[in-house]
């Protein structure tokens, strides 16, 4: 990274309210007790409060009276580099926001600071920059060709895991769009999750379609890592989605859900309702359009994905779904809901710090183990993958399962 300490970090992406937040932090240390990343990497620089203090020092030395008085920049190049590194060694899980006595909206702050750092040409980290380059070029992070995005339907039908064909929404307009996202489209294991959701929606009589090869990446990772192109790229996607004439969008990916539900409307008005698949399935069960009747005898615990829980307040729907499955014995972990420990998969951490991510997942797995459950279930494909890797890392007997699988088994008996 070519970092010059004199390189000014612009304040275009930050609001007065956010700069005030830098002064509102009292370094009380509450965030230190809860941050899932500091828990596995004990570097004091990572503590959110310390990060805020360092950022305040840097930004105040570059803007305002002090910048003019102290002609040179008193912050060393190494300090700036370290600061940018720790800004990215964070899953933007939002735990620090929920415990902060000053209610500092840290997730928003971290993401906007990343944008400022990218604007200054100081971020993201090299591996993350490469990830974003690939994402923009291929419209997915896996370097997969666009023509392969929709082939899963045919494959699912042939393998018998997808029970009915799905119409392309561009050819046959439907009121509901099922939006897969990149991971479910290309990762064959996660694609099963999409198939389960499709099977359930069909069974419940929902009229829906998919975009197939025309589906774009939600481009949320651009926002998570501070890429300034996010607004323009998101607007493109909003225009596409708005043109479909749908009234509802359902997605099985918690990351896509957060992006479409929370970030898109800040850029441009969207003309449809957005549901995460687990909320939608919960609704179908409550409307008795879906009946999980087959026994799934299993002791399970539930992991709250940050993007559903803390970021969007979806805590109860997945728990209701879990409890609607007969045979399931549901036990809670110690840290749940607002205090759920992040599995480490969010915020681009995995691309920059894969080892730290696995450690964070392993930590969550150990918490799940303590409940005596045989499986930890979650409705987020990304958390699901993270927890799987965490279970392997922790050499745990507990298995990570996708919540949709349990519902699928219970409804269809297979």
């Amino acid at each position: 990274m070519d970092t010059s300490a004199r390189q000014k970090i612009p304040l275009n992406s930050l609001s007065p309210r956010q700069l005030m937040e830098l002064d509102a932090c009292t370094r009380c240390g509450e965030c230190m007790k809860w941050c899932p990343i500091y828990a596995v990497d004990r570097s004091a620089d990572l503590i959110p409060g310390n990060r805020i203090a360092a950022l305040r020092k840097l930004l105040k030395s570059q803007h305002g009276i002090r910048a003019r008085l102290a002609a040179g920049n008193r912050i060393s190049k190494e300090e700036v580099e370290r600061l940018i590194e720790v800004l990215y060694e964070c899953t933007t899980c939002g735990q620090c926001h929920f415990v902060c006595p000053a209610r500092i909206d840290t997730v928003e702050l971290w993401e906007d600071l990343r944008e400022a750092v990218v604007e200054a040409g100081l971020g993201p980290l090299p591996d993350q920059a490469e990830y974003l380059r690939v994402l923009k070029k291929y419209e997915n992070p896996f370097k997969e060709p666009r023509e392969n995005r929709g082939i899963w339907v045919q494959r699912g039908l042939e393998q018998g895991t997808l029970y009915r064909d799905l119409p392309l929404i561009t050819e046959s307009p439907q009121p509901v769009l099922f939006y897969l996202g990149c991971t479910a489209s290309y990762n064959t294991e996660i694609n099963l999750v999409a198939q389960w959701v499709a099977n359930l929606m069909h069974y419940a009589g929902v009229r829906f379609g998919v975009l197939g090869n025309q589906e774009n990446c939600c481009r949320g990772k651009l926002r998570r890592m501070g890429d300034g192109d996010f607004a323009a790229k998101a607007a493109e996607n909003i225009d596409l989605l708005n043109s479909l004439g749908i009234d509802t969008l359902v997605t099985n990916c918690a990351g896509c859900f957060k992006t479409i539900f929370q970030d898109y409307p800040r850029i441009k008005k969207i003309n449809f309702k957005v549901y995460h698949a687990i909320e939608y399935v919960d609704m179908l069960i409550r409307e008795r359009r879906l009946q999980p009747v087959n026994l799934v005898p299993m002791k399970v615990t539930y992991h709250d994905p940050c993007h559903l829980g803390r970021h969007n307040g979806i805590y109860d729907a997945p728990r209701r779904v879990l409890q609607a499955v007969p045979g399931v014995e549901f036990v809670e972990m110690e840290r749940i809901r607002q205090n759920s420990r992040c599995c480490g998969m969010g915020g681009g951490l995995k691309m920059g710090f894969p080892e730290i991510q696995t450690l964070a997942s392993a930590e969550r797995i150990r918490e799940a183990e303590r409940t005596g459950a045989e499986a930890v279930v979650t409705p987020c494909p990304t958390c699901f993958l993270g927890l799987q890797a965490g279970a392997a890392r922790a050499e745990s007997d507990i298995s990570a399962r996708h919540l949709m699988e349990l519902v699928n088994i219970s409804v269809f008996g297979r």
């Binding site: 992406s13 002064d23 509102a24 209610r103």
Partner: protein, 265 residues
């Protein structure tokens, strides 16, 4: 006797007082102006949604005045802080009254109430109570800070502790001055209302403290006050202004977050 009547007992260098307070206040204003200037260099919008005033008022009551979030983080943490916070509010109100007394005409009912009427007693009582609250909160925060520092990794820089230290000494010297005054002029019928200072005065034999020492004490207290005020915008005590403001604005942005403010559901 008015709250400003101790000139009769010992000499107070008022000219010095005016100079040092003006200096302190000037530095304070420059610091605050620099902070505000810094905040408003942010080009993004503070309100992404239209401001929700109902949510802002509600959160001001719950989170700023009552500090509920701090309460959920621990009772003693909350108690320490609420003592300092409310104590400060008390002292601030008294200072405001003091300033008003300098401005309003001598025959105004307000002036009469606080100089000749029972207002003086309230003034003395609230002053001691608020001072005691700040002292208790600050001393226990200081103890907590010095005890926790080695084990904890959070950046507890010297300036944080210094700010607390100044606060403690400031309140302590305030009480000392008041007790010296009471000890030097025994028989004040209002003395029992200054309950802390009166208690402390019990330890001082009347009139034994030389007047010049009282003057020195008074000067030290006034100087420390100016230092404290000047230091506010530059220390972590900048949160005294930034935290309430940012909490209230954030509340408008996050009013739909029932889970963030669990009790607002």
């Amino acid at each position: 006797m008015s709250p400003f009547g101790t000139d009769l007992i010992y000499y107070k260098p008022w000219l010095y007082f005016v100079i040092i307070q003006t200096l302190g206040l000037t530095i304070f204003i420059i610091g605050m102006a620099d902070n505000l200037n810094f905040y408003f260099r942010g080009r993004a919008r503070s309100f992404r949604n239209s401001p929700g005033f109902a949510a802002m008022i509600k959160i001001f009551l719950h989170e700023v005045l009552l500090q509920r979030q701090l309460f959920t983080r621990g009772f003693f943490r909350w108690l320490n802080h609420i003592l300092i916070f409310w104590g400060f509010l008390g002292l601030l109100s008294l200072s405001a009254i003091g300033v008003l007394l300098k401005i309003v005409p001598g025959d105004a009912a307000f002036y009469q109430f606080f100089t000749a009427g029972s207002g003086y007693l309230y003034y003395k009582f609230v002053g001691d109570l608020a001072g005691l609250m700040v002292l208790a909160g600050a001393v226990s925060a200081l103890i907590g800070r010095l005890r926790a520092a080695p084990g904890s990794n959070i950046d507890t820089r010297f300036s944080d502790t210094a700010a607390l230290g100044i606060l403690v000494v400031l309140v302590l010297t305030g009480f000392m001055l008041e007790s010296l005054r009471l000890a030097a002029a025994p028989g004040d019928p209002a003395a029992q209302y200054s309950f802390v200072a009166n208690f402390m005065a019990g330890f001082i034999e009347g009139g034994q403290v030389p007047r010049f020492l009282m003057t020195a004490f008074w000067t030290f207290h006034a100087t420390l006050n100016a230092v404290f005020v000047a230091y506010l915008p530059f220390s972590k005590l900048a949160h005294v202004f930034a935290a309430p403001a940012e909490i209230v604005i954030n509340a408008s942005e996050e009013q739909l977050r029932g889970d963030l403010y669990g009790y607002l559901r």
